[in-house]
Amino acid sequence: MTPLVTVDHLVMRFGGITAIDGLSLQVPRGAITAIIGPNGAGKTTLFNCLTGFYRPSAGRILLHEDDGSERDLTRLKGHRIAREARIVRTFQNIRLFGGMTVLENLLVAQHQALTRASRFALAGLLHTPGYRRAEREAIELARRWLAELGLTAFADTPAGALPYGTQRRVEIARALCARPRLLCLDEPAAGLNPRESAELKALLTALRDAHGLTLLFIEHDMSVVMNVSDHVVVMNFGRKIAEGPPEAVRRDPEVIRAYLGEEDEEAADA
C-alpha cells in the first residue's frame, strides 16, 4: 500500500521532556491506521505535530501528493494544514462550538469555500446568486453527512446541549465537512456506550470503503482497534515499539510487555 503520510524521525521536546523521540511511521493511503499505547506514550503529541498545533523539534512529516510530489508539513502554519494538506482532526476532549447549532458547526468547517464564494463577505452582503448557490451547496454537504451519521434530527440544536456520544459524532461530521484527505480521530470511542461503539466501527469502515478516506485514530478501546484497523502502530515513551496488522501486533511480546508491565516490575510490586 502506498503511504499518504510519512513521519520521519520526528522529535518533540518540551523543555526537558522528550514527548516524541525519533518516531518514524507511515500512514497507508485508503486504510485505517490505529495508534495505540499506554497513557503518556506521545500519541496526542503526534497528532498535534501532524495537524500543525506543535512545531516539531526535529524530523519531518511528509505528505505524498497524488501527483507523486512530497510536501513537508512541519513547514506549514497550523491552519494551513487543514486547508491545504486537508488533514483534519477531532479532539480527545470534544471541541465543538457549543453555543452554535450542529448545522452551523458543519458550515464553519466549510469556511474556506464559503468565504471564497462570498468574495470575502462582499458578494455575501449583496446576496449574489453565486453566493446563494455556494451556501446551498454547503448546506447540502452538511445535510448528507448529518444523514449518514444519523444526526439530521439534531441539526438545529445547539451542539453543547447534546449528549456526549452525539457530540462525538457531530465532531466527526464537522471534520468530514472540511473535506479531509486524512481524518485524524483522537480517541473517538472514549465515553461511548456499547451501541454507540458498534455504530462507530461501522462508520469508520464506511468512511474507508464508501468514501475512500484515509483514517488515523488513537484509541484505547481494543475491540474497536482490533475490529476496524488495517494497520496498528504501537507507541511507548515517544517511540514506536511495534507495527503491523492487528493480529500480529496483538501477539508481539514487546507490546504485551508495554501494556502489562515488565516481569521484574511485577515481582517488585508483589
Binding site: 495537524t51 491552519h79 494544514i81 479532539f91 465543538l96 453555543g99 452554535m100 464553519v108 446541549a161 472540511a178
Partner: protein, 428 residues
C-alpha cells in the same frame, strides 16, 4: 458524625451567621473609605468620621445579604434542573415584535416631540450609543474579543472629520467613508501585533491604546488643538441645503418654504443617527449570517477547533476588530458633526467603559439587548443627578453581577444563523 452536624443549626441561624460574617467583612472594607474621609482643611488634610454612613452601609450589607441568600435558596429549590432550551420560534417572534415597535417609535419620535429640544437631543445621544454598542458588539459579543479602548476609534473618526472639514473643506458625506476606513486601519495596525496572542493581552493593549490616543490628542497641539480641541466643525447639511436662518445660497427652510426653526437641524441630526444606526444594524445582522460572522462566533466558542478546521484565526479576529473600529469611526464623524466642537475630554476610558457596559448588560451578541441597555444607561442619568453620580459605580457592580449570574448577558438568547428545517421549530 461530628458534634457540629448533630447539633445542626436551623437555616435561619445559618443565614444570620452568614449575613453577620459578610457584614463584618464588608464593614471592615468600608471602614477606611466610608467610615472615614480625608478632607482638606486650611490647606492640609484632616480626617473626618462618618459613622452614620458607615452604620447604614453595615445595615444595607446585612439585610442585603439576608435577602440575597433567601432569594437564592428559593431560586434553587423552585427550579427543577431546567435543561437548556432549544431555540424556540415564539421567542424569535417576540423579539421581532419588540424590534419592530422600537423601530416605529424611533421613526415617529420627532412627530410627537418635534418641538421638544431636550427629548430630541437625548434621543440623538441614545442613537450614538446604540450605534457604538452595535459596533462593539461585533468585537465583544460575536468574536469574543475584549476591546477596552473602543473609544479610541471613535476619537479617530471624530478627529478625522474635524480636521478634514476644517482644514480641507471636506463635507460630512465625503469624510464619512474616509474616517471609517482610517479607524479600521488603526484597528488593523493595533490588532495585528496583539491578536496572535491570548485574549487578555488584547484587552490591556486596547486599554493602553485608548489612553495613548487621548494623551497624543492632548499634547500634539499643532495637530489636534490640544486640550482646547477643535471648534467650528461644519454641521451636515440637507443634501447641500444648510440649516441656517440665512445663508449665501438657499437654506433648508427657504427651499421647503418653512418657517425657520432651530429644531429642523436637530431633527435632521436625529434622523441621520437613526439612519446610520439602522445601516450599522443591517450590516452587522447580514455579516452574522455570512461565513465571516459564523467564523467570529466560532472563534468565540473555541479558537483551537477553528484552527483545526483550517480557519486563519488571526484574519478572522482582525476582520472583527476592524469592522468594530470602522463602525466606531462612523459614529465619531457623526459626533463631531453634531457637537461642532470636540476635545480629548469626550474620549476617556469612562466612555469605553460605558459602551462595554451597554454590550455586556444587553447580552453579548444581542442587537435588541444593546438598544435596551443603551436606553437604560443613557436615559437614567438624565432622570436624576443622583443617579448620574453613581452611574459608573452601578455599571461596574452590574458587570460583575451579570458575569456571575448570566455570563451571556441578561437578554442573550442566540438566534441560529441558519436552519436546516426552517419550517418547524426544532424540538429534539
Amino acid at each position: 458524625m461530628t458534634a457540629a452536624a448533630l447539633a445542626a443549626p436551623s437555616p435561619l441561624a445559618l443565614r444570620l451567621r452568614d449575613a453577620l460574617a459578610v457584614t463584618l467583612l464588608g464593614g471592615l472594607l468600608a471602614l477606611p473609605f466610608i467610615g472615614l474621609v480625608t478632607v482638606e482643611e486650611g490647606g492640609a488634610l484632616a480626617v473626618r468620621t462618618r459613622w452614620s454612613a458607615w452604620a447604614m452601609t453595615l445595615a444595607a450589607i446585612f439585610f442585603g445579604r439576608l435577602a440575597l441568600r433567601a432569594a437564592l435558596d428559593a431560586w434553587h429549590t423552585r427550579r427543577p434542573a431546567r435543561k437548556r432550551a432549544a431555540f424556540s420560534s415564539t421567542d424569535a417572534v417576540l423579539r421581532r415584535a419588540a424590534g419592530t415597535s422600537l423601530l416605529a417609535a424611533a421613526l415617529l419620535l420627532p412627530v410627537f416631540f418635534g418641538d421638544n429640544r431636550y427629548v430630541i437631543d437625548t434621543a440623538t445621544t441614545l442613537g450614538i450609543y446604540v450605534m457604538l454598542g452595535w459596533g462593539l458588539n461585533v468585537v465583544v459579543g460575536l468574536a469574543g474579543l475584549l476591546d477596552l479602548g473602543y473609544v479610541a476609534f471613535y476619537a479617530v473618526g471624530a478627529y478625522t472629520y474635524a480636521l478634514l472639514s476644517t482644514q480641507f473643506g471636506w463635507s460630512f458625506w465625503e469624510a464619512l467613508p474616509a474616517a471609517g476606513a482610517l479607524a479600521a486601519l488603526f484597528g488593523i495596525l493595533l490588532g495585528y501585533p496583539v491578536l496572535r496572542l491570548r485574549g487578555d493581552y488584547l484587552a490591556i493593549v486596547t486599554l493602553g491604546f485608548g489612553e495613548i490616543i487621548r494623551v497624543v490628542l492632548l499634547n500634539w497641539t499643532s495637530f489636534s488643538g490640544g486640550p482646547n480641541g477643535i471648534g467650528g466643525i461644519p454641521r451636515p447639511s440637507f443634501f447641500g441645503l444648510p440649516f441656517a436662518r440665512s445663508a449665501e445660497g438657499q437654506t433648508f427652510h427657504e427651499f421647503f418654504g418653512l418657517e425657520f426653526s432651530p429644531m429642523h437641524r436637530l431633527i435632521f441630526l436625529y434622523y441621520l443617527i437613526v439612519t446610520l444606526a439602522l445601516l450599522t444594524h443591517a450590516l452587522v445582522s447580514r455579516l452574522r449570517v455570512l461565513p465571516t460572522g459564523r467564523a467570529w462566533e466560532a472563534l468565540r466558542e473555541d479558537e483551537i477547533a477553528c484552527k483545526s478546521l483550517g480557519i486563519n484565526t488571526t484574519t478572522v479576529k482582525l476582520s472583527a476588530f476592524a469592522t468594530g473600529a470602522m463602525l466606531a469611526g462612523f459614529a465619531g464623524v457623526f459626533f463631531a458633526a453634531r457637537q461642532g466642537f470636540i476635545s480629548p475630554e469626550s474620549f476617556t476610558f469612562a466612555e469605553s467603559a460605558t459602551i462595554l457596559a451597554i454590550v455586556v448588560l444587553g447580552g453579548m451578541g444581542s442587537q435588541l439587548g444593546v438598544v435596551l441597555a443603551a436606553a437604560v444607561l443613557v436615559v437614567l442619568p438624565e432622570v436624576g443627578r443622583q443617579f448620574a453620580d453613581y452611574r459608573m459605580l452601578v455599571f461596574g457592580a452590574a458587570m460583575v453581577t451579570i458575569m456571575a449570574v448570566r455570563p451571556m448577558g441578561l437578554l442573550a438568547r442566540r438566534e441560529p444563523t441558519v436552519r436546516l428545517n426552517p419550517a418547524r421549530s426544532s424540538a429534539p
